[in-house]
Assembly symmetry: C2
Homo-oligomer: 384 residues x 2
């Protein structure tokens, strides 16, 4: 209904072009950095901004968001402690300079400038880079800032599509694997962790998965096993002496050359202990906020190395084609049923509801995202 599509006389690489001017749009914006809890309690800092889309510029696309998650990194960004700091500006017509929250999400192309190639109206797209703002009903932006999801169809849910960008092939880029090789990871029950289990399983790799002890441990183990996890250990078990020989038995001569760490501290150090020669230890998060201790001997004598993985750098250092190929691979896995949706909880953003109502729902969702009391990843659905 916000969509004006018309056939074009001079068809270029896209089938249609269209204009979608003056579409009413809403965005969740903030005008200052601050702790989300504070920002949220002081509503002027974090509020819904109403505006209308401008005329379509020749190289722009207009998109309509369908679903966008609330990730911890999004909240860090609002805090101002994330390295990507979207500039505050008045491009959406606000009185004071603002930025739009959110980094991930799936949208549909609703209009194209007449110089845009490679996209059609109706295409499902994600943001090509982080920091562009996804907590909004619509966006008008250069076509270079969005990325096609190749092969997207009804077999691919909006939740899948909305959460794909945070998970490039974290293990492909780092180590050459052979079928039967092992990967070890902590925070194995996180969204990325679950993703790693499934990708590894689909590729014939085995996984050793470390999780925090918890009351419903058996339930969690059962769930992770159903995703394809080979072995599951608690953090406490990992640091025990007898684990060393247990692990040797599991490995049975196969290589363990990738450790994925999103926890930090002692647990990250323990992961490194089990790496084979030339193994890589890759940090992509630091939930414990503790630095890890790295002993010298494995660095020197086993050629073990420590790296970081940041999806935004992955995006920046890979071409549009490489990124499309990666999304294509993931979408194929989804279609083959090898990649489940993360556990998620729906947040409705009813665009026609009152601002008060929307803000309350959003505030609650962000809070759940931060405190971890939600039943999974909070995913905002944009609804009329």
């Amino acid at each position: 209904m916000h969509l004006v599509v018309r056939p074009l006389s001079t068809v270029k690489s896209s089938l249609f072009y269209s204009t979608s001017s003056h579409v009413p749009a809403r965005a969740m914006v903030y005008a200052q950095y601050g702790k989300p809890s504070e920002v949220l309690s002081r509503m002027p800092l974090y509020r819904i901004h109403k505006h209308t889309l401008p005329d379509v510029k020749p190289q722009d696309v207009h998109i309509r968001f369908l679903a966008a998650p609330i990730n911890p990194a999004d909240c860090n960004q609002v805090e101002g402690v994330y390295p990507i700091k979207p500039p505050f500006n008045t491009s959406l017509g606000s009185d004071e300079p603002v930025a739009v929250g959110g980094n991930e999400g799936v949208a549909e192309v609703i209009a194209l400038g007449d110089q845009v190639k490679g996209f059609s109206v109706g295409d499902k797209v994600v943001m090509a880079q982080a920091g562009r703002g996804t907590w909004r009903s619509h966006a008008a932006l250069p076509a270079s800032e969005v990325q096609l999801l190749p092969g997207f169809n009804s077999q691919v849910s909006l939740v899948h599509a909305a959460t794909l960008t945070a998970h490039p092939h974290i293990n492909v880029d780092n180590v050459e694997h052979h079928i039967g090789d092992y990967v070890i990871q902590n925070g194995a029950n996180s969204a990325v962790g679950q993703f790693v289990i499934q990708i590894a399983h689909a590729w014939g790799l085995k996984t050793i998965n470390v999780v925090r002890d918890r009351p419903n441990l058996d339930e969690l183990k059962e769930y992770l096993t159903s995703l394809g996890a080979t072995h599951i250990l608690t953090e406490e078990e990992l640091s025990k002496r007898e684990t060393r020989s247990k692990l040797k038995g599991w490995l049975d001569g196969r290589k363990l050359r990738l450790a994925l760490n999103c926890v930090g501290g002692k647990n990250a150090t323990e992961l490194g202990r089990y790496l084979d020669h030339e193994g890589k230890h890759v940090t992509y998060g630091a939930m414990s906020k503790q630095p890890m201790a790295v002993p010298a001997a494995p660095l020197i004598f086993k050629d073990v190395s420590y790296h970081g993985f940041w999806v935004s750098r992955w995006t920046d250092t890979h071409s549009r084609q490489e990124r499309e190929a990666m999304f294509g691979d993931l979408i194929n896995l989804i279609k083959e049923g090898k990649l489940r949706e993360p556990v998620w909880e729906k947040v409705s953003w009813k665009l026609n509801a009152s601002e008060q109502e929307n803000e309350t729902a959003f505030k609650e969702a962000v809070n759940k995202g931060i405190t971890g009391f939600g039943k999974g990843k909070q995913i905002v659905f944009f609804e009329d």
Copy 2:
């Protein structure tokens, strides 16, 4: 005098071949691992073994050692805590299985088997790999186990030649440098540290050198500056807040993408703090015996990575040609006067003196090497 050289009728790739059978030889051997202090006090564990060289086998060379250093790693090897553990055997004709001490040293070819190519009698060689034993007057071994020093002549001292193998191009293999770029290192006054200063200086790189505070600091600074050090800081200065802005001023926009660490602990962590995007932190020693704390943010957001450097691995992963090219480069720098000898102290191993006398001299030298009370690297000269 131990040398029998005669012209050969069928000349192959080498000008001469020769036999040097039954040359009297001595080796400093040990029959058990143990703390050097204990091993040294229990002389049967660490003693001079007399033997004679066998007939020259077709693929063997016989070499006469000229000079060999006593390195900390050699002592760790005797302790049994070094990853390269020479096998104990009776190949030298000892009653019990023994290993020969030492890993580095320069020797002269005195005889060649008739299938050996690429060497001539009189060539100066080093051991192609660690763990083969260099604390000995002579050795008979496959030609594949020695490595030519290309371009060696009288401009190159025996001390230089005897200490080259420990110092491959530590900084070449790790980071692409541009003239004016910076390297930061701790333990800058170590033999490797001094070497790095000079190589960097010869290549147009600048160095920030961290040393421990000491009474004669000004003297040390003067000496390191004379080698080509750009800046010198104490460990204490490095960890001060104001150093950050000082360093920024020094760098003045130039890249700092290599940190070399042989200390570990807090100081190693501090080095990492100053690395630019994509910087590499390379550990080649752990004098403090403390692991270093690695924070997650630079790994994730700056693509900083942590590696180890081990000269034995460098040797194993580079071809004979690559190694020769590297030694050739270093020998050229020596001839150009750009690479000084390390500070060293002579240990005479008079082959014709009494065993008692030799063992006492050796024991003293090893002790100096371990405690650091010597006036520099202990270098054994093999004399008649």
